[in-house]
């Protein structure tokens, strides 16, 4: 594993609302290593989604900065792609046209765009529904399209914001395996936000634990389980169980201190 692809340096975020200022993130520093699968885990309100959005550049930090391959990020990065929890496929565009959105922004000619989008749909097993409208698909299929839309631009880093949060358990488990396979096959860097500890253990090389009030980073844990993990029962693995216990304890204990 090589050096850091993303460096988050002392990033903070304050929102000023009608009810006064909210400190969503306080001085978070974090390195994302090239090629790793890093999860941000923590309870609601710990700022994990805000941090992911700041890394992508859709949200601006109040303080601190983000370096991508050593350069300070200004605006939305072209080398990173975002997968939204709410997916937000555009209903007036077909599935393949949705996948083309990022390529359109990069000025790719129409035929090349279509070819690339179809290739990417093939990758997530949805080539057959390329012409369908997105609302004709199930939730799981829609999120596969959301992943394809991000992968189509051949990003160096994939940022995923609780991508399986709205899906049922069965669909979620299938997609977890699929995303693990894609990650290994495409050798990308992934930053993955979730509040599901098991999901984080199954997928990640490292897990960054975050806590609320104000949102901050507590610890970064090495998962240390071998890949590929779909070939054994991770949940029953002793190391995974110990790791899970320690994560739950850390998040829980600190919450107790707060109250």
């Amino acid at each position: 594993m090589s050096g850091a692809v993303i460096e988050v340096r002392n990033v903070s975020k304050n929102y000023t609302g009608r009810h006064g200022a909210v400190n969503a993130l306080a001085g978070v520093s974090l390195e994302v290593r090239a090629g790793e699968f890093l999860s941000l885990v923590g309870p609601s309100g710990c700022g994990k989604t805000t941090l992911l959005r700041i890394i992508d550049g859709i949200t601006l930090p109040s303080g601190g900065d983000v370096l991508f391959e050593g350069r300070r990020l200004e605006g939305v990065s072209r080398d990173m792609a975002f997968v939204f929890q709410d997916i937000n496929l555009l209903p007036w565009r077909s599935v393949v046209e949705n996948v083309e959105i990022g390529l359109l922004a990069r000025g790719m000619p129409p035929e090349e765009r279509r070819r690339r989008a179809l290739e990417t749909l093939e990758l997530v097993g949805l080539r057959a529904v390329a012409a369908a409208p997105p609302y004709a698909l199930s939730g799981g299929m829609q999120q596969r399209v959301g992943v394809a839309r991000a992968l189509a631009i051949h990003p160096k880093v994939l940022l995923m914001d609780e991508p399986f949060g709205h899906l049922d358990n069965f669909t979620r488990e299938v997609l977890q395996i699929e995303i693990a396979k894609l990650w290994r096959r495409l050798r990308m860097t992934v930053v993955f936000v979730t509040h599901d500890v098991d999901e984080a253990i199954f997928l990640s090389d490292r897990i960054a634990l975050m806590q609320t009030g104000p949102g901050r980073l507590m610890d970064v844990l090495e998962v240390g389980l071998p890949h590929p993990r779909w070939e054994f029962n991770v949940r029953a693995d002793a190391r995974a169980i110990a790791l899970r216990e320690s994560i739950i304890e850390q998040l829980h204990v600190l919450r107790g201190v707060m109250v």
Partner: protein, 268 residues
């Protein structure tokens, strides 16, 4: 949503009438009573449906109705087309650029609040008693509803769609073309429906007030001659315009924007 299963089964088992039976029956009954009323009422006050039908047929054979229709339709469609294009364009610009909105808002609000019939004499002074004045009037009455609805649509684009555009790096013009305008289509269509309805009113009012042609002229003519049957036949034709308008917008939505009803159904 939560009709008890037993009640639903009972409803399913009851005699199934074709879907439109009740409204069709209602109309037939009203027409019947109306027809019978002709036996008692002065024919100058109201004509029977049969009489109106006969007069409509006569008008068609006479040729004047056809001429009036061509004249009215041409004026309405050109004025409406102009009103819709300018209205949608300005609505998009105002919705997307704060400066444009601030600049135009006072004028939009002024014209939208003014009962525009009052400007007809002014239009006549400007361009004379001609089709120009009538076109201008139809344009003026159709412009504002579609403009305001487009503006509302552009400003209410779902946050999530805008974020997709931002995250994937769309340029400003791509953002307008690929996100804002398509997302605003439900609002724009509502504006089109209202404006098209007003176009019919604008057309007839201007024909009665500016120059005596088209359906407006026929209405005035038969009204002042107390030819109630023919007058009501022309009224029927005018309401047909309104029905065609509503159906046309519905058809456009179903044909070109099927996602609107699909997404609405999903949201429930």
């Amino acid at each position: 949503m939560s009709v008890p299963a037993a009640a639903r089964d009972a409803a399913d088992r009851s005699v199934r009438l074709p879907r439109n039976t009740v409204p069709v029956l209602a109309v037939l009954i009203v027409l019947g009573i109306w027809q019978l009323s002709g036996l008692f009422l002065n024919p100058i006050l109201i004509s029977t449906p049969a009489e109106v039908g006969r007069e409509l047929f006569w008008l068609l054979r006479w040729g004047a109705l056809e001429l009036a229709l061509v004249e009215s339709l041409r004026e309405m469609l050109i004025g409406l087309a102009a009103g819709l294009s300018v209205g949608i364009a300005l609505g998009v610009l105002m919705g997307r650029y704060m400066t444009v909105e601030k600049l135009l808002a006072p004028f939009v609000n002024f014209f939208n609040a003014t009962p525009l019939v009052v400007v007809i004499p002014l239009l006549v002074i400007w361009v004379g008693i001609s089709i120009k004045a009538r076109l201008l009037f139809v344009f003026l009455v159709t412009l504002w509803p579609v403009l305001l609805n487009t503006l509302a649509g552009i400003k209410n684009v779902q946050r999530g769609y805008v974020e997709v555009g931002m995250a994937f790096g769309l340029s400003e013009s791509q953002m307008v073309r690929c996100i804002s305008i398509p997302a605003a289509v439900p609002y724009i269509l509502t504006g089109v429906r209202i404006s098209a309805g007003l176009a019919i009113i604008g057309m007839i009012v201007s024909e009665m007030e500016v120059s005596f042609v088209g359906l407006g002229f026929l209405l005035l003519h038969f009204g002042s001659a107390f030819e109630t049957g023919r007058l009501m036949a022309v009224i029927a034709v005018a309401s047909l315009f309104g029905i065609v308008n509503v159906l046309a917008v519905k058809w456009v939505q179903a044909r070109f924007f099927p996602w609107i009803s699909a997404v609405a159904a999903e949201g429930q």
